[in-house]
Symmetry: C2
Subunit: 148 residues, 2 copies
DNA sequence: ATTTATGCAAAACTTTTGCATGGGA
DNA sequence: TCCCATGCAAAAGTTTTGCATAAAT
């Protein structure tokens, strides 16, 4: 079903082996297409391929992060990250700090800034994560009621 | 020396008590003015006021995150967050995924997008975190040499 | 006076490591 | 064949909890 992932290409190109462990973790991340905690990755990998060990899952998450394939973000807890696939090298969302609900959006208009930073700092930019936080419509109502 | 923090005002306004634990954690965060891990916060709080317990430090970090005073971010490990003060409600940096060095910058030009999102989603936006990642100038050299 | 928040210390998790072995290239 | 990456299981950390008590308002 799934087309051969461009991420498998990234792995190969960077000289890493396409092992069962890495491919299974990648599959889980791609099927999720959203934010997922390490605990959930662990559980789903276990379900798909019980032969894969915990340690390899963490090693894969670390590697994918380094390669810019995923990015850890903090949504539900200020302590436990959730990982998100960096589709096309970027990701954007708005988080409600009250209920932890989040909303994703696409256009960020950061192309000019990206080019500018590359030129100024000499950094080869691979992607970005843009996160807005605040209080969502429903929670705003809650806050107002509490103040009344 | 330090002027009375506007963050102390936020705490008060939100109805939270100004306790030793919270004020000490806030002091550490303000003195740092950068990225700091929970372990470092713990150590510095211990140095300033040994009477403050570990648990209260974590509780304060969680609370400050909820209030938008700080924000957890990923820098050095895909697992441990570092907390950063959201000065004026926003923060921006570029991280090198190779050496973990990071560069902060100020102007992001996100005012229009912020207004747009508030209108579209009905969210009361308090701030944002913008993170670029890639390979810094020095690490780019390293990569080239490896490929030669 | 009232609570809210705390400190303590143990419990509960999560993540990392070291090393012999298996599986990709 | 070669050696990178793995699985295992124990160790090392980190965070959370439950509860009696202290300290803000």
């Amino acid at each position: 079903m799934t087309a051969i992932s461009p991420r498998i290409e990234s792995l190969k190109r960077a000289g890493y082996r396409l092992t069962q462990a890495r491919l299974t973790v990648l599959q889980v991340l791609e099927e999720e297409r959203g934010h997922i905690t390490s605990a959930d990755v662990l559980a789903k990998v276990e379900g798909i391929n019980p032969a894969v060990g915990r340690a390899s899952v963490f090693r894969a998450l670390e590697l994918f992060t380094q390669l810019g394939i995923i990015r850890p973000t903090y949504i539900s807890s200020s302590v436990t990250p959730t990982y998100v696939l960096m589709q096309g090298g970027h990701h954007h969302h708005v988080i409600c700090t009250e209920c932890k609900r989040f909303f994703e959006f696409d256009n960020c208009g950061l192309e000019a800034l990206t080019a500018n930073l590359q030129a100024t700092l000499g950094v080869q930019i691979k992607g970005h994560l843009l996160e807005f936080y605040g209080v969502c419509a429903e929670c705003c109502v809650g806050v107002e009621e509490r103040q009344t």
